[in-house]
């Protein structure tokens, strides 16, 4: 009997002495020590987290990861990408499997307050819409009464969909799945009358359809979807870094600093540009990175406008016009507004 007890007691002692309570303020230190940033993105979707044939990632949300990596390491490629479904993203991040989540994630009160997570800003203002086959003849979401709608499970989209149909006293049958590829296949096979997602997501998906012109995005926008990067709650320094890298890119566009002219701009007399590029002030120091972190970000990744046009702008297959949209700078009638860099 004693022979059985000893190993049990030894195991117990080993377990009890093991503490899992990690100190909160160390994400940046861990990333630096590891030598790379662990960043969660979604299942490959053109424009936001697209995966090329050679295995490289690109897109709006991927560029957030690249910018943070550039700020820390002066190398945007020091990122380990983790492709996760919408259903597991929050648990995975909260458990510490990654350092940040950049996956077209909508900023909501519940997510911000109850999941142990923190939103670090907004890199794309979006709204939910519907995609329908052109030959269905549907021209408005109000005509969707009784329709079968494909929707990703565990998303705000799923909740907005139910709210929209309820408030308009219409009926619908959801076809849900956690895997966007399964949903798109179901939609293309006629398994549902409409596919609903953020409009940018619809445009991105449609660009990869065999015949994109056979599908139309209905004009209605049924929700506010501010999409942005997410970090774990409790590590203010790390959250600040992600937030100010994003603001820095927006501020750079406003000040006219881009990847092409950043070297010349180092000699600029504009105090705003001097502070942004670390020539004056010590903003980078407070964030735990070098003072010229924005120079690195702008050189390797570019300002917000460059990132937008490269990934989802009008000259890309996704083609989401920026002028006049919410994603234009506040000086151009949009709501993109970086907090002052001072």
């Amino acid at each position: 009997m004693l022979k059985k007890i000893v190993p049990v007691a030894a195991t117990l002692a080993a377990v009890l002495s093991f503490s899992t309570t990690a100190s909160a303020q160390q994400t940046l230190a861990q990333v630096k020590e590891r030598g790379s940033l662990n960043c969660q993105v979604g299942l490959p979707t053109p424009g936001f987290y697209g995966l090329a044939a050679d295995g490289t990632w690109s897109g709006m949300d991927v560029d957030v990861c690249r910018a943070v990596a550039a700020a820390i390491f002066d190398d945007p490629d020091k990122v380990q990408y983790q492709s996760v479904t919408s259903a597991v993203r929050f648990t995975s991040l909260a458990n510490g499997e990654s350092d940040m989540l950049s996956r077209t994630t909508t900023w909501t009160a519940v997510r911000d307050t109850q999941l142990g997570l923190e939103f670090a800003g907004v890199n794309f203002y979006d709204g939910q819409g519907f995609l329908v086959p052109r030959d269905s003849g549907i021209t408005s979401a109000k005509e969707l009464d009784g329709a079968t709608v494909c929707v990703l499970s565990g998303t705000t989209t799923e909740l907005n969909l139910a709210d929209y149909f309820r408030s308009n006293e219409m009926e619908f049958t959801p076809v849900t799945n956690e895997n966007v590829n399964v949903l798109v296949e179901t939609y293309l096979g006629g398994g549902c009358d409409a596919y609903t997602n953020d409009k940018s997501g619809l445009a991105a998906r449609r660009s990869a359809f065999p015949s994109p012109d056979d599908h139309v995005i209905l004009p209605e926008t049924i929700s506010k979807e501010p999409l942005g990067p997410v970090v774990r709650h409790g590590d203010a320094q790390w959250g600040d870094l992600v937030r100010w890298v994003l603001y820095g890119q927006i501020e750079a566009e406003e000040l006219g600093v881009s990847s092409e002219n950043v070297d010349e701009m180092l000699a600029s007399d504009n105090p705003g540009i001097k502070r942004l590029l670390g020539v004056e002030g010590n903003i980078g120091e407070g964030l735990g990175v070098s003072p010229d972190f924005m120079v690195r970000v702008l050189k390797h990744v570019g300002n917000y406008g460059e990132v937008y046009e490269r990934n989802v702008g009008e000259n890309t297959p996704i083609g989401i016009p920026r002028a006049g949209s919410l994603n234009a700078q506040w000086t151009d009638g949009g709501i993109l507004y970086a907090m002052p860099f001072r």
Binding site: K4, T20, S86, V88, T173, E178, G191, D193
Partner: protein, 398 residues
């Protein structure tokens, strides 16, 4: 288990010292073990709670009353988008149990058929049954579910081009639609007659067995019972003026409305689960029947027992002793495998509760605990019921 085994009934010699007393020692070690187990459990729970609170994650069951706010594509029990999370849990349970119940019935029927076919004297039937079992048993279930869903059901025509039979049954890529019975006034009388006939048949079978045990005279109670269960309610139904309407599905707008709809995900799931499990059941049936020595049949014949009775009274009771225990495992497997529904989006418990609700509410620990408790309770209940049945048909050793 080790704890109960170590409880010895032997009494040690009164002369040995207290420390060497076997009973005292075993009690001491049991208390020690129990304390260790409880301590470990307490440590795990408190550690989880502490870690969750440091990460700002909410635990607790208070969210069960909150409105869920998402739609569910297939619900057996009524559900609206504004209903609570607890209602979602119930919807998930109902859907899982539905899949398990239908799957078990189909798997048993197909398995029985294939199992008998494998022992057929006809070479073609025997070979087809063998290939059926070998191919389907040796491919992953998840693959089969996805194959049925994408390879069959999503390739069906769209609602406007539905396959229809007699303007009542329709098949399209949104599901299989058939008329739903709607009970009219006075249908309760028919149901009462059915219940009465069922009770009467049970009484008849009990009486016939008692009489046969006492006098040896046989009475065809099962045939008479089945006839009564069918005839009496039918008679009452016709006399009371057929108080039953059928709601016929009709194309209206995008989809068919009215009637009963079996969505593609449910059909694919039940088919895949039934067919996969039926392979194992077929082998169990075959092994059970082959385990009964041919000498038993010969002995029955020598005693002049009718061939139809030989199967029912001699072969089957002995075969069932071999069949029932592994069959229980297969039923439990099917129930647990139904959680693969998530791959094709059928809203079973895992899909609607452990995926959607967990993600919407963020309460991982309570939700996972509730899901595990459900599967555990179902498995233990099924296992208990089948074990009781197994005990009844066990070889009575006198």
């Amino acid at each position: 288990m080790a704890i109960t085994e170590s409880t010895s009934v032997r009494t040690s010699k009164p002369t040995s010292s207290f420390i060497n007393n076997e009973t005292v020692r075993s009690v001491f070690y049991q208390i020690l073990t129990l304390a260790c187990v409880l301590g470990l459990g307490w440590y795990l729970v408190s550690n989880t709670i502490e870690n969750m609170s440091t990460r700002g994650m909410s635990a607790g069951f208070d969210f069960l009353d909150a409105s869920a706010g998402f739609g569910i594509s297939f619900t057996l029990i009524p559900y609206r988008e504004g209903d609570s999370y607890f209602r979602v849990f119930q919807v998930g349970i109902a859907n899982t149990l539905l899949v398990a119940a239908i799957g078990i019935v189909f798997a048993t029927l197909i398995g029985l058929f294939v199992g008998l076919a494998r022992m057929s004297s006809n070479w073609l039937i025997r070979t087809i049954a063998r290939w059926y079992v070998e191919v389907l048993r040796n491919t992953p279930l998840l693959l089969q579910i996805i194959a049925w869903y994408f390879g069959v059901f999503t390739l069906l025509p769209r609602p406007r081009d539905s396959l229809g039979w007699g303007e009542m049954f329709f098949l399209n890529n949104r599901g299989f639609y058939f008329p739903a019975p709607v009970a009219g006034d006075g249908f309760g009388v028919t149901l009462a007659a059915f219940a009465l006939a069922l009770a009467g048949a049970a009484g008849l079978i009990w009486w016939a067995r008692k009489r046969q045990e006492a006098t040896g005279k046989h009475f065809p109670a099962i045939s008479v019972g089945i006839a009564a269960v069918i005839a009496l309610p039918l008679l009452v139904f016709l006399v009371s003026g057929r108080p039953l309407d059928w709601e016929i599905p009709a194309l209206q707008g995008f989809n068919f409305r009215g009637g009963v709809n079996v969505p593609p995900s449910l059909a694919a799931l039940i088919l895949a689960l039934s067919i996969y499990t039926s392979c194992f059941i077929a082998e169990i049936v075959r092994s059970g029947i082959q385990s009964v020595s041919h000498g038993q049949t010969e002995a029955a014949r020598a005693l002049g027992v009718k061939p139809s009775w030989t199967m029912r009274l001699i072969i089957l009771p002995q075969a069932l002793r071999v069949i029932i225990p592994p069959l229980i495992s297969q039923y439990l497997n099917l129930t647990k495998n139904s959680s693969l529904a998530i791959a094709i989006g059928f809203p079973d418990l895992v899909s609607v509760w452990m995926n959607t609700s967990l993600n919407q509410s963020g309460r991982a620990i309570p939700i996972v605990a509730m899901t595990m408790a459900f599967y555990c309770i179902v498995s233990l209940t099924v296992s208990f019921a089948m074990n009781r049945y197994n005990q009844r048909i066990l070889l009575k050793e006198r």
